[in-house]
């Protein structure tokens, strides 16, 4: 191929790995000599990164992080073991003593500096976490104490202990939702909370799972502002949630 690809979509198909045979070879050959098409391929790679977000959201077990941190700590001695002897071999013995002394001082300063930087970083992190927690608690308090917050109890009507949910919703301040006595969602399924607006389709307020006691919560999900809620509902949906409810209603509560 000497000219540009016939189809603009070829860049995305190539970035995805779906293009093959003659079409793939021709595009690769053209890309080597066309900066304009190389830029289009870059844009396609960006779209491919976005497409990964279509995967249902799942959380890795905490053991993965622990294994990762053990792995990088196991690496540390190997990194420190190399370098110094080769460096010292190039120094005359007289300078070696002086250099070594300087090295000791430098290492001590570096260690002290690193400790101070670490301490500063820890304090900054701690302050950020506290600020974030305070802001979050203030938002929660705002919703709970505002006179115009609607409070809705969602029930299923089943035998005791009956699953129950409580939604605290303010159109500008946000939504808090707590539930209890819900059975664990079946494998591959998740609970999804919905706001049913006065007009229009239900709006997802997030997916959640329940703990071994049947308790779950959704705190301050991202929602469009100023939605007047007519009702709240919880449905059982495929893992990761769906744009619009498809599964059975587990809990429902009308506003007012």
């Amino acid at each position: 191929m000497n000219g540009h690809p016939q189809f603009e979509e070829d860049f995305d198909l190539y970035a995805m790995g779906a293009l093959e045979g003659e079409e793939k070879l021709a595009l690769e050959s053209h890309l080597r000599q066309c900066a304009e098409c190389a830029a289009k391929l870059e844009e396609a790679h960006g779209r491919m990164a976005l497409l990964a977000l279509a995967a249902p959201s799942e959380v890795a077990p905490s053991a993965v992080k622990e294994r990762l941190l053990r792995q990088i700590r196991a690496d540390a001695p190997k990194v420190q073991a190399s370098g110094a002897p080769a460096f010292l071999r190039w120094l005359a013995p007289a300078f070696a003593v002086a250099a070594l002394a300087l090295l000791v001082v430098a290492v001590e300063l570096k260690i002290e500096n690193r400790a101070l930087l670490q301490k500063q970083s820890d304090l900054q992190s701690e302050a950020q976490v506290l600020r974030q927690e305070t802001e979050r608690e203030r938002s929660v308090l705002d919703i709970l104490t505002a006179s115009d917050t609607v409070k809705v109890t969602l029930v299923s009507g089943a035998a005791r202990p009956a699953p129950e949910g409580k939604a605290f919703y303010h159109p500008r301040k946000g939504l808090l939702f707590y539930t209890s006595n819900l059975p664990a969602a079946p494998s591959g399924r998740t609970y999804q909370l919905w706001i049913v607006p006065a007009q229009g389709n239900p709006i997802s307020a997030g997916v959640f799972q329940v703990d071994s006691l049947g308790n779950g919560q959704v705190m301050l999900p991202a929602l469009p502002p100023d939605v007047t809620a007519k009702a709240f509902a919880v449905t059982l949906e495929p893992a990761g949630g769906v744009p619009q409810p498809t599964g059975p209603k587990v809990l429902v509560g009308l506003v007012g």
């Binding site: 779906a18 977000l53 993965v64 792995q71 690496d75 974030q132 997030g206 959704v218 991202a222």
Partner: protein, 186 residues
């Protein structure tokens, strides 16, 4: 799960700062990046592999590679999120296809026009947009796109798998890509 705070750890610290600290061997910075992005990486790997334990290995591999080669990341070229998402998808598909993965410079896998997903809110918002985009696609196009993207299949492999003519698969994929270009921008 959607409304977890783990990805907001050290919310004021940018990825670029954390990457610099990773280069300086600061493991708390790596742990923060892990908290920020492991959900995205694991979700992609799990979707491709349909196997929790192998997906966990992919997540560990990717963050370990970030630890080893963070200095080769080029922030001017693209975002860390872009690299993580592309790597998660490519590495998971390599596992499925049993291809050998070598330790490469991270910049090679970083799309230059990649999304900024440094906050939990931006992640949730973008996931909702992509989910809506996929939901709005005609189901035949969505199936073809998912087979190409999450299973790493070529045109002819999808045609063989679905029993549909090759031309039909190509058309469906091109229409899906056309919608993608109009509907989503990194």
């Amino acid at each position: 799960m959607l409304v977890t705070n783990s990805s907001e750890s050290q919310p004021g610290v940018t990825d670029a700062v954390l990457i610099r600290r990773v280069v300086q061997r600061d493991e708390t910075a790596l742990a923060t990046l892990y908290d920020r992005y492991s959900r995205l990486v694991y979700s992609v790997a799990k979707r491709v592999l349909a196997d929790s334990s192998v997906a966990e290995e992919v997540v560990q591999d990717i963050f370990y590679q970030l630890w080893r080669n963070a200095s080769t990341l080029d922030s001017a070229r693209g975002t860390l999120a872009g690299w993580l998402l592309v790597s998660a998808r490519n590495r998971a598909i390599d596992r499925v296809r049993r291809r050998h993965v070598t330790d490469v410079e991270l910049a090679a896998d970083t799309p230059s026009r990649s999304p900024n997903l440094e906050t939990a809110a931006s992640q949730t918002q973008m996931m909702a947009q992509v989910s809506k985009f996929m939901g709005d696609l005609p189901s035949a196009q969505r199936t073809a796109l998912e087979m190409a993207y999450f299973e790493g299949l070529t045109h002819s492999e999808i045609a063989e798998r679905t029993g549909e003519p090759l031309g039909t698969i190509k058309t469906r994929l091109r229409l899906a890509i056309d919608s993608l270009k109009k509907g989503l921008r990194p």
